[in-house]
Symmetry: C2
């Protein structure tokens, strides 16, 4: 492999690496918060990298964005208000706005540059940014949630980078307690929860922190994500009520198109691998 023509992300914790063949570096900058690079790849469309970690590609971001939005939206009985913490590429925002009953979505990403670059290099993800229901804020999401009034939002989607650097505080019990406080009675928070194969300890810690914040039900969703370490990813929902049921009929009759998600995939994503069951049985007694 000729390193010069490839972007490679090493997962040192697993001794593995994933590479994409690049035809051109389109952009590189050090923003106030992080280093952002954009590449044109041969087989995956455009690629965004933050601090050396792959964030998304044009080709396969649909798995992540659909699974961070549609399952939680079809689990809540009547989602009207949604906050997205992080999510600066606007792909999650686009999916959330496909739900007609949603009246207001606030996206709170600390780094405006991510959004400005997404508008330029991933315009398809930003096509709903001017929807009158959408509001984009470029401030600290942790502070936003801490200062929010009780009972003010139905769903919080935490679409963040890994739990190191600026996103570390998003994986803590304090943060989940703040989420709990500002969520409405049937409120749900969902957060990306890393690779079940490589990062089971992070997943377990996150689930424990969510339980410690008084959420009464947790459900982890599993889905493929080619460009992330191990090619397999997860998101975990924490709710004030039972999360195993969802509006299956509405999901089956959804009025918008998706590439991965449908009601069968929703149900399937809730199935827990045997090793996962064993791991959480030990850590969540």
């Amino acid at each position: 492999m000729d390193n010069a023509n490839w972007f490679t992300e090493v997962a040192p914790e697993a001794g593995s690496a994933f590479s994409l063949k690049v035809s051109k570096k389109l952009h590189e900058e050090q923003s106030q918060f992080q280093k952002i690079e954009i590449y044109q790849t041969e087989g995956f469309g455009n690629l965004m990298v933050i601090d050396g970690f792959i964030m998304l590609s044009s080709r396969d971001n649909f798995f992540y964005h659909e699974m961070m939005s549609h399952p939680v939206l079809f689990t809540h009985p009547d989602p009207k208000t949604v906050w997205i913490i992080g999510g600066g590429d606007c792909g999650t925002l686009r999916e959330v706005l496909k739900h007609q009953q949603v009246q207001k979505v606030v996206q709170i990403d600390i780094d405006e540059r991510v959004t400005r670059l997404a508008e330029q290099y991933f315009p398809e993800l930003c096509e709903s940014n001017n929807d009158p229901r959408a509001e984009l804020k470029f401030i600290d999401g942790i502070q936003w949630v801490k200062q929010a009034r009780p009972n003010s939002v139905d769903i919080i989607i935490v679409d963040s980078t890994d739990p190191i650097g600026p996103a570390e505080g998003l994986f803590s019990k304090d943060f989940y307690q703040d989420c709990f406080n500002c969520l409405t009675e049937q409120g749900i928070v969902i957060q990306q929860s890393e690779s079940p194969l490589f990062h089971m300890h992070i997943l377990s810690d996150m689930r424990s922190a969510m339980k410690g914040a008084r959420f009464s039900d947790l459900q982890t969703l599993f889905f493929p994500q080619c460009v992330y370490p191990s090619g397999w990813w997860s998101a975990t929902m924490a709710g004030k009520n039972d999360l195993s049921k969802f509006r299956q009929k509405d999901a089956g009759n959804k009025k918008f198109s998706t590439n991965y998600y449908n009601s069968e995939i929703h149900l399937a994503a809730l199935a827990q691998p045997e090793f996962f069951k064993q791991a959480i049985k030990v850590s969540e007694v």
Copy 2:
């Protein structure tokens, strides 16, 4: 990335690559049929590579081996005889033999060297090779199936390499017709069917060939497989009867341990992603 310390497999069709950090090359040989390499890796245990393609690692082979065996065995109402075409590493054989009602398993791999090296470097996969119900043959699986008598086996598991080189004939309508002919009345063949993200055309062609061989139902199973291209893999069952139902109660009360498979995962693996539904709707009209 220092190439000298990594084994890398490039997927040229996608412009991607997956690498594992290796601490030592344990073995390399050119057998009568293919080049076989064994590496010790830092994070994935031992690694077997054939003709430059990753076959399996100690760490994550359980996904593949469990999904190639338990779903099809719990779908058949009463599996007594099983043939494994390929599968020389013996990992599928071990899983099949966990089913107590199975009376006879014949593994037919053309290359005895794969099995001898598996015995040495993946002994855990070979722990059932001496089971009195198991028979290991080192002959051509395509010929074996062609010459078999009608009505002679309940399940055929095609655990082969990619559809290039020696395994090419295992992806053809002729081969599936031979399978159909030697399967019993409720018989099922299952074959690994590549990555749904990278190889949808192979998957479509395989399904068309299976339909052309008069199988009345097909079901594709989806599962994670970190070391294979895209990190996401599939297997496709072709049966003489409906395959959407399975012995769910038996699977739920299985008397053996697994690492990934359970009855919920079985059901989940049958869920078809939206893009897959669209692709087969177009190709299987």
